[in-house]
Symmetry: C2
Subunit: 187 residues, 2 copies
């Protein structure tokens, strides 16, 4: 039990976000983040590989939120139903308690082209992983690539909406909206 360091990762995340907003990402050091969070630099590096990692978190866990449900979908599920299960599952990562922090993160990223690229590359890699999982289910190309990317497009549109200041609907509801749109575009 580590009573003297409860939720160090959460405190580091908040400290980093504050400093990124105050000083910009470039001018913020790991030492400053650790100091603001009241932990050592060593503790910082136990949780994150570098300062940008604080904004992007656990990529492996986030990717598996999308991909595992595609793998675990019933064998007779359509490619879109399998992908929809993965996109729906991603909502668990964005409960409403995290919306205020996510909005701050969104503004930090919007102000920094390098971070925008990283976000884009991250989502592209997730689309590629979903397409791989579809191929393992026997879905051929180009369908695997197209359905996977369309699913990620639904996620991205929902996420952008969720971050908007005037948006009150929950992430799960916005994803359902997008999935309905996707099904409707063909008709």
């Amino acid at each position: 039990m580590v009573r003297w360091e409860p939720d160090a990762a959460g405190r580091l995340r908040r400290a980093a976000a504050e400093l990124f907003v105050e000083r910009g990402v470039e001018a913020t050091t790991v030492a400053a983040i650790a100091e603001r969070a009241g932990v050592t630099e060593r503790t910082f590096f136990r949780h994150f590989a570098d300062k940008r990692e604080v904004l992007f978190g656990d990529g492996v866990r986030f990717t598996s939120l999308f991909v595992d449900p595609v793998r675990d979908a019933p064998p007779d599920a359509s490619p879109l139903d399998a992908v929809a299960a993965g996109v729906r599952a991603s909502a668990a990562f964005f409960p409403d308690e995290r919306r205020a922090d996510s909005r701050i993160r969104g503004r930090i990223i919007a102000d920094n082209p390098g971070l925008q690229e990283r976000e884009l590359l991250k989502m592209d890699a997730i689309a590629a992983s979903i397409a791989d999982a579809l191929r393992e289910r026997g879905v051929p190309d180009p369908a695997a690539t197209i359905v996977a990317r369309a699913g990620v497009a639904v996620f991205s549109a929902a996420f952008v909406a969720w971050l908007r200041e005037d948006e009150t609907r929950e992430m799960g509801e916005l994803i359902e909206d997008g999935l309905r749109e996707l099904r409707a575009i063909a008709s």
Copy 2:
């Protein structure tokens, strides 16, 4: 009339591709590309902003291939029909005479993560421009974003297939395949 310099841009493109394959992108200088093409560096910079630009060409013209047909589609065309017209039009950029050169370009990009990022960013910007054109047509979000990205996914899947050594179908045919798949996923 510039008789002493016929198709300088084309010769620069071929010279650059040869040198990128022989030496890698990093080790290739603009001076070496110009020399191999038999033109001056000044001529190089009349056609391209930097050596990477040789691989990416005229982004404005390429983007308008996708976007103009969306703007020009009949008012009653569905969002997907408007986007499909743009994706179809992009095939004009990839006649079969360019396939061999495009395959070399594809291998150069596949070997260089920085160039892969640039390609990804380029296609993301095109998706954003298509979504803007849909919004101008009165298509609300999230539909505009989702249809635009799904259309770009069709293009990307067709382009990857077109570059494959064992693929003989033309770009236009591969795009039609992808559009059929996109319409089918919803049903």
